[in-house]
């Protein structure tokens, strides 16, 4: 008779050995375990919510893979990609360029769990997480490879992280920190809990729903299939949080509050514009803010409260940012479109603008005037005025432009001086992150710091674009070739 998994699981997950040839600290150095003062016995309370056996894992993953492959092959045969709306496809270019290599970074992080996590139970689950992230990397590469013949932008799935494109550098900066350089405990809090349990749902489930409505069955199905792995391996974060809440709750609160803000800013850059501007109007399920309320404010925050965590101290500012940050980022992305490797849709036709004002009552007041000026310049044939000549000052934590976190009225400087150097931030929340642990961020030069230091030559926008690796075949421009602005032209207004 075959044993039931429940009968042998408790024994198998505690398989461990007593070290005799090396010291514990040598085999499991603090810098990678992150145990600090938490006693060894404490980890016996580490109990995974989502049990996995290798046998089940292989069977289930095999089914997932054949499902994704079958859908992908059918959609390729049907030529679905070529029929998609040009505004929507930018969301897929943006995703593959900024996410594929993050999946690969996650392989390294999960491998660290396999090797250095403070309990064999967690090390065991890290193996599955590592295989999951290998799968995600390969899925993104295969998807992009299949579509490369239709658009060279898919090359950026592999290429992006070998360039200095500023948005990619912002993404890389965050994940270098919380995936590649964090010990197991901190990675569990910042990545497993905050990014994987909280924020990736916004891209991989909610945006996937928009993509499905837009007819992009292949990409949507790939995203939600990936997230079925994330939902499982993100659970590695909760038993770790449980142990921390017993022994060092303040560390948990702080690590999660920092990661929560940095994730907010990142998803305002990636998912916010994709949902509220790139998804064609009649295919939008909900606004970015509504999806964030569903997935992050309700779904994610409720379980953190269940473990005894408080909301971040900056909660009201976060809600204010939720009204504004991604609109500011979108305006900046579109204006600095030659610095992108995708073609952003302006998304401010009259009908789209009505939708934006309905979803965000302060939209017109904050952002309408800027767009009116851009529209007037387009209709006057002054395209030169719609394009940048310089680069925006960037935050030394998020790497995103100053002025892009809140409304257009929230522009008071946030500055810290550390060891003689002045650092600037997009908000007092980012400044708070820096001040908690300045050595962690200090010394790094953002794109504009490097520009001013003369590391980017020639010192012009053209020099900057070349340094960022942007070639004419992928360089960003308006998704619809500015045709949407015509309805605002004076001749049509009367």
């Amino acid at each position: 008779m075959l044993l039931n998994r429940d009968d042998w699981y408790d024994i198998s997950r505690d398989l461990d050995w007593t070290l005799s040839y090396v010291d514990e600290e040598v085999a499991f150095p603090q810098c990678w375990t992150g145990k600090r003062a938490i006693p060894d016995e404490a980890w016996q309370a580490w109990d995974e919510p989502f049990r996995v056996s290798y046998r089940d894992y292989v069977r289930v993953q095999r089914e997932k893979e054949s499902g994704v492959k079958a859908v992908g092959d059918a959609m390729l045969r049907a030529g679905v990609y070529q029929k998609l709306d040009p505004a929507h496809v930018a969301a897929a270019h943006l995703h593959m360029g900024t996410t594929c290599m993050v999946e690969y970074m996650a392989v390294t992080m999960q491998s660290r769990f396999c090797r250095f996590a403070p309990t064999p139970r967690w090390r065991n689950l890290g193996v599955f997480g590592m295989l999951d992230e290998t799968r995600h990397t390969q899925l993104d590469l295969r998807f992009s490879h299949d579509l490369l013949r239709f658009d060279p932008r898919f090359d950026w799935a592999q290429k992006a992280f070998h360039t200095n494109e500023w948005g990619v550098l912002a993404v890389k900066n965050f994940f270098d920190d919380i995936m590649l350089s964090s010990d197991c405990v901190e990675a569990a809090l910042a990545t497993s809990l905050t990014v994987e349990h909280g924020f990736t749902n916004i891209q991989f489930v909610a945006l996937a729903a928009d993509a499905m409505a837009a007819g992009d069955v292949n990409w949507s199905n790939l995203l939600s299939s990936i997230q079925t792995d994330e939902a499982r391996h993100a659970q590695q974060g909760f038993p770790t949080l449980q142990v921390l809440m017993e022994h060092d709750p303040q560390r948990a609160q702080q690590a999660i509050d920092v990661a929560f803000w940095r994730s907010t800013r990142l998803f305002q850059t990636l998912t916010g514009p994709a949902m509220d501007y790139y998804t064609p109007l009649d295919q939008r399920k909900m606004s970015f803010k509504e999806f964030m309320l569903e997935w992050v404010v309700n779904h994610h925050e409720r379980i953190l409260a269940d473990y005894g965590l408080s909301k971040p101290w900056y909660w009201d500012k976060f809600l204010h940012s939720l009204e504004n940050g991604h609109h500011a980022m979108h305006l900046g992305l579109w204006f600095w479109r030659p610095t992108l490797f995708w073609k952003p849709n302006a998304g401010v036709s009259k009908a789209e603008r009505e939708w934006l004002n309905e979803k965000y009552p302060t939209w017109e007041e904050n952002w309408g005037g800027y767009w009116d000026q851009i529209i007037a310049n387009i209709n006057a044939g002054r395209m030169d005025l719609t394009l940048p000549e310089t680069l925006p000052a960037l935050c030394n934590v998020t790497q995103l432009p100053l002025g892009s976190a809140m409304s257009r009225h929230d522009l008071e400087p946030a500055v810290s001086v550390y060891e003689g150097r002045t650092y600037q931030f997009d908000s007092d929340i980012s400044k708070w992150c820096f001040d908690l642990d300045p050595a962690r961020y200090a010394g790094h030069m953002n794109v504009v710091d490097r520009f001013i230091a003369g590391q980017i030559q020639p010192m012009s926008l053209a020099g900057g674009l070349e340094w960022m690796g942007l070639t004419p075949d992928v360089m960003g421009d308006d998704a619809y070739g500015y045709r949407w602005a015509a309805e605002y032209a004076p001749a049509m207004a009367d």
């Binding site: 049990r51 489930v205 997230q227 779904h299």
Partner: protein, 104 residues
Amino acid sequence: MTVFDVEDAASLEPNLVGPVIRSGALAEAVIEAVADDNPGADVFVVDRDDYVRIHTAQTCRLTRASLELRLGRPLPLAALEMDMPSFAGRLRTRTEEYLWFYQS
């Protein structure tokens, strides 16, 4: 017990727990099985076309027996994962039963 179709998830009570399933036959079977396994509880269904939230308040139980009955074929609970990109609440997974819950 009643199954409610809900449009605005934000207006729901904050203690809802349970799976989020990709739309399709499995989601339909999970709705029915959750209704079977949580007698007396209201089942809240939020259908976003591509995914469906299937939730009850405070605890949500799903057994393999009910799921297989409603699906009409054998399906180990571990295979639920194939179409479950997310879930709300804490989770306890055993061969015959999944339980989503909040402690407080």
